[in-house]
Symmetry: C2
Amino acid sequence: MHRSIKGGKVAQKVKLSTIAESLGLSTATISLALRDSPLVAADTREKIKEQARTLGYIYNRRAASLRTSRSGIIGVVVHDIMNPFYGEILKAIESELDRSRHTFILSNHYDSVDKQRNFIETLLQLGGDGVIMSPAIGTPVEDIRLAEDNGMPAILIARQMEGLDVPTYRGDDSYGISLATNHLIGLGHRTIAMIGGTDQTSTGRDRYQGYVNALRKAGIEVDPELRIPGPRTKQGGFEAAVHFLSLPQKPTAAVCWNDLVAIGLMNGIARAGLVPGRDISVTGYDDLEEASIATPSLTTVWNGQAEVGRLAARALLDKLAGSHEPDGIHLIKPEMRIRQSTGPIHIR
Amino acid sequence: MHRSIKGGKVAQKVKLSTIAESLGLSTATISLALRDSPLVAADTREKIKEQARTLGYIYNRRAASLRTSRSGIIGVVVHDIMNPFYGEILKAIESELDRSRHTFILSNHYDSVDKQRNFIETLLQLGGDGVIMSPAIGTPVEDIRLAEDNGMPAILIARQMEGLDVPTYRGDDSYGISLATNHLIGLGHRTIAMIGGTDQTSTGRDRYQGYVNALRKAGIEVDPELRIPGPRTKQGGFEAAVHFLSLPQKPTAAVCWNDLVAIGLMNGIARAGLVPGRDISVTGYDDLEEASIATPSLTTVWNGQAEVGRLAARALLDKLAGSHEPDGIHLIKPEMRIRQSTGPIHIR
């Protein structure tokens, strides 16, 4: 049932009978349950699947005779493909994989570990060649190993995971956000809020840390009340405007988690009768296509998402071709894009 | 190789040997070529695949013993999943399919018939249960029949196709755009441009016709120079602003192809120093989440995309369960959403 992996490791061979014995059931029952047959009661099926997962068994639907050949299928799973940040990564992956005539199948996990695991399992059942993923919050290391140990290499994008040695491509978030914060400090801003993101992802922790470091370096005291965590979308940024504008410290600028939050916040600020870029300076993060056509055009940090996608796809293709890209974290260096949403401090 | 289809039709059985005889090659060569083996020269492989496609042969990678069971895989292919219009449809499909524990795999065709066919073929090879698609511009009827004749029912969304009798779910575009046009006429506008869309899709033709009909009904002469076809994105709408603002007829309002074009156009109008919603009235189409938080908030037409997704997924699941949803076109009735981007005529 298992394929050996490059690098000499061979996955432990788990047979149907191993699962059957461990549960005191027949191999026929196990086999039916793993095919989701209604002949096995629903809760027994669940128990069997749970046990199969624990033991690391993967039921491969493809005929045994085909198992040595590649299916040409590569899976990609991210938080939400509707987020243009991932969209721009996906376009780059797609164009790289198209060229090598791979089929590219996509899924959202919406930060549900279960949905993500379900996708990995489906991909293994389809005989997927590899998976590129931005891991869901709380992903256990075992879920990535499940793929790797079954001969399906994983490449991580955007978010990294501790205790794993797979190639990971992401922007240097701490450095990138310090560029935005320093830009605002250079314009005379001292009371700078940070809006959006969460400590539950490496990206969220790194960006907050980059903001904190930049303030400290400039001798500005860090006020935790100036952080409004949570928003990651335009709607979220729009709603945060009320909270932001009512802060007693009266911040003159906002470093936003991403361009979506920044554009939403600017819309919220405008709705309140203030002029973003003049009354309040706002920075985004990612430099989405939309950033340059927003009103005002958005000062932001280019985050290299097309590079992340291209390099991740290349790394996977190289791995499948037998030449190993070094494991570990590959950081893309962000760059500042200065536009009209930031300006010299303007006291309200 | 083929499964029979509900409704009594049975697909013609095409064997490897049929292809082999028709090309004067051995069945072994055909078999290798269809598995993409490098043992067969690239151009021979292409010729064989072309012939297999013409004859309607599908190579099913799943073992024969599994062919009677369902794979649980449903494919969805649209122009561009990054377009939030499709995104909102996809979310509704996903939530419907999740409930029935189907795996949902996605692809973009970017209006490439080849990319779309490739996806349908992959899906057939994986034993997909069904496909939901917004057909690429120029899709031949045979490509949908390829799916149907191999026991994989297709449901169309957003765009319809002539000469096909598969269930199709879309908004009533002609009616919807007439709502927007009538709203502007009611505000006193007489010189109304239409921006975006293409005559190559049913949606594009229907929306233009709805605009023309509304003008005629109000006794306003239709000026073809007031149509700026093409844009479908924010960037497109933004760039069209220059053309729009330089029209000698000096339109006071614009009916846009969709919300993205409208938001882009409003940004372009603002960049030129005019105030959208006051100097120029702008309507969108779709009522994306973003429409209500745009500056100014966007007057638009709710297009029922979540309904389209939900109904299409339900129709497919019902079909797979054996109960037939009537074929043919199911129209969702659009509704007007009046916000701040439109106002009484304002002569520049």
